[in-house]
C-alpha cells in the first residue's frame, strides 16, 4: 500500500461516483444499466431465497403451529413457546450454550491472536511462513465428524491418550466424556483445536496491516513490548478482533457436529452424561428428529436466532467505543 496523502479521500468513500454509472453509459445501452445490477445478483439471490429465506420463513410459521409431518397441523399461537419456557431442560441447555460460548470466544480469540503473533514473528524472514500458516489452518479444514472420532479416543477414560499422558505425570485422570463435569470441556478442547487456526488466519491478516514503522516508532518512543501491543498494535488490530468476536459468537453458539459425535451416542443420545452437553443446537436436533416435535424445535430455533441477533447488535453497538476504523496509512 502506498502512502495516502491527507487530502485524498479514503478508499471506502461511498460518495465517490461510480465510473460505471456515467451518464454516457445509459445512453449507449438504454435500460440495461438500470437492471444490470439486479440481473447480476439474481442467481445468488435465487439460491438464497430457495435454501434460506423460504425455509426460514417456513420455520417462522411452523413455530406458531402444532406441526405434524403426516397432516393435521393446527395453529397453536404461542403454545410452543409456552411449553418451551416451562421446560427446565431448555434453560439448562441455554446455560450450557452460554458456558460453551463464554469459554470458546475468548479462548479462540486470545489463542488465535497468540498463534498469529508467533507465526508472524517466528517466520518473519523465513520461507516456511506459508507452511506454518498451512499447518495451523489444517485442523479447520478436516471434517469434524472424522476428527472428533479420533478425539473421542483421546478422551476415552480407560485407554485414551489424554489420561495416558496424565497417568505418566501422575496427575488425576478425569472421566472426560463420561463425566458430567468434564464432558463439555472435552468438547471445548476439541473445538478449540479445530477452530483456533481459522481465527489465527484472521489475526495474521490483521497484523499484516499494522505498519512495521509504527511499531518501530513506538519502540524508539520508549514503549515496552506490552505498551507497544496495548497502545499501538491492539487498537490497529481492533477491526479484526471485532470480526473474530462476532464470528466466534455466531459459530460457537451454533456448534452441533462435534457435540453430536463426541457425546451424542450412536442413536442420537441425550447429549452427555446427565444432559451435560445438551447445548441449544443439540437440543434442537434431538427435539426435532428424535422426539419428533418439529414445531417445538422451530420455536427453539427462532429463540436462538433472536438471541444471536441481539448479541450481535450489542457487540456492534459496543464496538463504537473500542474499534478503530481509521485505516493505517503506510
Amino acid at each position: 500500500m502506498t502512502l495516502v496523502r491527507g487530502d485524498v479521500a479514503p478508499a471506502t468513500d461511498v460518495t465517490t461516483p461510480d465510473p460505471g454509472r456515467a451518464p454516457g453509459s445509459h445512453r449507449s445501452r438504454p435500460g440495461f444499466g438500470r437492471f444490470a445490477g439486479y440481473l447480476l445478483v439474481m442467481p445468488a439471490l435465487g439460491i438464497l431465497t430457495l435454501f434460506f429465506y423460504v425455509p426460514a420463513a417456513f420455520l417462522f410459521v411452523m413455530s406458531f403451529y402444532h406441526w405434524n409431518l403426516f397432516g393435521g397441523s393446527a395453529f397453536a399461537g404461542l403454545a410452543n413457546f409456552d411449553v418451551l419456557f416451562h421446560q427446565p431442560l431448555y434453560f439448562k441447555s441455554l446455560l450450557e450454550t452460554a458456558y460453551f460460548v463464554g469459554v470458546m470466544v475468548p479462548v479462540d480469540a486470545l489463542m488465535g491472536l497468540a498463534l498469529a503473533m508467533l507465526l508472524r514473528e517466528g517466520f518473519r524472514r523465513s520461507r516456511a511462513g506459508g507452511l506454518g500458516r498451512a499447518l495451523v489452518f489444517l485442523p479447520h479444514v478436516t471434517p469434524v465428524v472424522a476428527t472428533s472420532v479420533i478425539w473421542a479416543w483421546v478422551f476415552n477414560p480407560r485407554y485414551g491418550l489424554a489420561n495416558y499422558l496424565l497417568h505418566l505425570v501422575g496427575a488425576p485422570q478425569p472421566g472426560w466424556l463420561d463425566s458430567a463435569t468434564w464432558a463439555l470441556p472435552s468438547v471445548m478442547i476439541y473445538s478449540i483445536w479445530h477452530s483456533v487456526g481459522y481465527y489465527a488466519v484472521f489475526f495474521l491478516a490483521g497484523l499484516a496491516m499494522v505498519p512495521d514503522t509504527v511499531v518501530e516508532a513506538a519502540r524508539v518512543d520508549g514503549a515496552s513490548s506490552w505498551q507497544t501491543f496495548r497502545r499501538v498494535v491492539a487498537p490497529l488490530l481492533s477491526p479484526t478482533t471485532f470480526m473474530v468476536l462476532i464470528l466466534g459468537t455466531v459459530n460457537s453458539m451454533q456448534t452441533f457436529s462435534q457435540v453430536y459425535t463426541l457425546t451424542g451416542g450412536p442413536h442420537g443420545g441425550a447429549g452427555g452424561p446427565a444432559f451435560s452437553t445438551s447445548t441449544d443446537a443439540l437440543l434442537i436436533y434431538n427435539t426435532a428428529f428424535i422426539y419428533q416435535h418439529l414445531s417445538l424445535a422451530a420455536a427453539m430455533s427462532l429463540v436462538l436466532f433472536v438471541i444471536l441477533i441481539t448479541i450481535t447488535a450489542i457487540q456492534k453497538r459496543l464496538s463504537r467505543r473500542w474499534v478503530f476504523y481509521g485505516g493505517t496509512e503506510r
Binding site: 496523502r5 487530502d7 518501530e216 516508532a217 519502540r219 518512543d221 520508549g222 505498551q227 496509512e329
Partner: protein, 402 residues
C-alpha cells in the same frame, strides 16, 4: 546532547554487507548528513544507531556510552521516519505525548511539554486532529514534534522530506536547519538528495555499497570529491570521468591516453617515475570544460566529441556530448556558441582543473598518494600558460582524433 561514535560497524545480510566497516564520529551538536544512492546502507546505519537493527560487529557509542545492544528506548534518541509512522488511531496531541506517557510522565506535565513543542513547530492548532486529517507537511511536523518532545540527545531523521513535493521540501529544509540552530541537537540526517545534504549539513558523509566514501563539510565534498564514486555522485551535473593510462612519462612530463583509445589525451608536468600503462580515472568538472573546435592546449585535457543535446540549466546551458559512446557534459556560459547537433568538436580543460583517481581503489591521487609527485592545483594553475586559440594538433598529440 551527545556525540555518536561508530567504530568499524558491520551489518551483513547473508553474504551481502549492507554496512561495511563504517567508522565515523558525529560531533556533539552537529547536523550530520549521510548521503548516498538507494541501497548504499545509509538507512541501515541509521537504524543501527537507533537500535532498531543490530550491528554484526563494531561499536556504537552514544554520548561516550557503549550502546551496542541497548534497546532503542535506552539510547535517548528521537527518530523521524520516512513515512512519518504516526500512530493513526491517536490524535496529534496523543501522538506527540506518546513517548512521555509510556514513561509515566504525568498528564499535565506531558500536556505542557507538548504545548511547548507544538508552539515551536507551529502545530498548536492541529493537536486535536487525527493524522489522516493532516497534509504531508503537517504530518512531517508532527513526526518532528514526537521525536523532539522527549528532548533526546540525538535526533535521527530517515529521508524525512522525500514524501513531500519540491516546494515544501525546500521550505522544510530551511525549517529543519533553523530548528537545529535553535536547539543545537546532534542530528543524523539520511538522504539520497545531494542538494538537501549540501544545503543543510555541517558535515556530509557519502556512502556507497556500505562503505564510507568521503566525510567532510559540504563545500569540500562538492569541490574536492575524494573518491571516484563521490566524484560521479556529487554535483549537478557531476564530474566527467575518463579512464586513461600513462602513455609516456619522462622526468618532467607525463602523457596519458584514453584506455579505449579514442583520441582523448592529457598532458601535464610531472616528475618521478610513472610506469607506462598505469591507469587513472581523470575527472573534470563540466564548468571547467571549454568547448571549441579549434581550442588546443599543450597542457591539460583534450577530448574529441560529437555534439548531442543542449539542455537549458539554471546557470547556463549544459552541453551533452558523446565520446566513445559515453556522455561528456560541459557547461556553456551565456553567450558562448553552441555547436550544432552532430557537429564534431573538442572539449578541453587546463591541467590544474583535473582530478585523478586511482583505478584500483578509486581514491584521489595526491602528491603522496602514488610514486609520482603530482603538481598541487595552485602551482598547476600557474603552469597552464597555454595560448588560447592554438590550432588543434599543434602539440603533436591526439592527432589521430580526427
Amino acid at each position: 546532547m551527545a556525540s555518536v561514535e561508530l567504530a568499524e560497524v558491520v551489518r551483513r545480510y547473508g553474504a551481502f554487507r549492507a554496512v561495511d566497516e563504517v567508522s565515523v564520529e558525529i560531533r556533539d551538536g552537529e547536523l550530520f548528513t549521510i548521503l548516498g544512492p538507494s541501497g548504499c546502507g545509509k538507512s541501515t546505519l541509521l537504524r543501527i544507531v537507533a537500535g532498531l537493527d543490530r550491528a554484526d560487529s563494531g561499536d556504537i557509542r552514544i554520548g561516550g556510552k557503549l550502546a551496542n545492544s541497548a534497546e532503542p528506548a535506552a539510547r535517548d534518541v528521537g527518530m523521524v521516519f520516512q513515512n512519518y509512522a504516526l500512530y493513526p488511531h491517536l490524535t496529534v496531541r496523543e501522538n506527540v505525548a506518546f513517548g512521555l506517557r509510556v514513561r509515566k510522565v504525568p498528564r499535565r506535565e506531558a500536556d505542557r511539554q507538548v504545548d511547548e513543542i507544538a508552539a515551536i513547530l507551529e502545530i498548536a492548532d492541529l493537536l486535536d486532529r487525527k493524522p489522516r486529517q493532516l497534509s504531508g507537511g503537517q504530518r512531517q511536523r508532527v513526526a518532528l514534534g514526537r521525536a523532539l518532545v522527549r528532548r533526546p540527545s540525538v535526533l535521527l531523521m530517515d529521508e524525512p522530506l522525500s514524501n513531500l513535493d519540491t516546494l515544501l521540501r525546500e521550505k522544510m529544509r530551511v525549517e529543519i536547519r533553523r530548528l537545529h540552530n535553535r536547539l543545537g541537537l546532534t542530528t543524523i540526517y539520511v538522504t539520497h538528495d545531494q542538494q538537501e545534504a549540501l544545503a543543510m549539513s555541517d558535515r556530509v558523509m557519502i556512502m556507497n555499497r556500505g562503505r564510507v566514501e568521503q566525510v567532510g563539510p559540504p563545500l569540500e565534498v562538492l569541490h574536492e570529491p575524494s573518491t571516484e564514486f563521490a566524484a560521479r555522485f556529487v554535483g549537478s551535473p557531476p564530474m566527467n570521468l575518463i579512464r586513461m593510462q600513462v602513455h609516456e612519462a619522462s622526468e618532467t612530463q607525463v602523457t596519458l591516453q584514453a584506455v579505449d583509445g579514442d583520441g582523448a589525451w592529457v598532458q601535464g608536468p610531472a616528475s618521478g617515475a610513472l610506469a607506462c600503462g598505469q591507469q587513472f580515472w581523470v575527472g573534470v568538472r563540466p564548468a571547467d570544460l571549454d568547448v571549441s573546435p579549434t581550442a588546443g592546449t599543450r597542457s591539460g585535457l583534450v577530448v574529441p566529441v560529437v555534439m548531442d543535446v543542449a539542455e537549458l540549466a539554471r546557470d547556463g546551458v549544459l552541453l551533452h556530448c558523446s565520446y566513445a559512446g559515453r556522455n561528456v557534459v560541459a557547461t556553456a556560459g551565456a553567450g558562448d556558441p553552441i555547436p550544432a547537433l552532430g557537429e564534431r568538436t573538442l572539449v578541453s580543460a587546463p591541467w590544474g582543473s583535473l582530478t585523478f583517481y586511482g583505478c584500483d581503489d578509486g581514491r584521489r591521487v595526491r602528491a603522496t598518494g602514488v610514486s609520482v609527485r603530482w603538481p598541487e592545483p595552485a602551482t598547476a594553475a600557474a603552469s597552464t600558460s597555454w595560448a588560447p586559440g592554438d590550432p588543434y594538433g599543434d602539440g603533436g598529440l591526439g592527432g589521430d582524433a580526427r
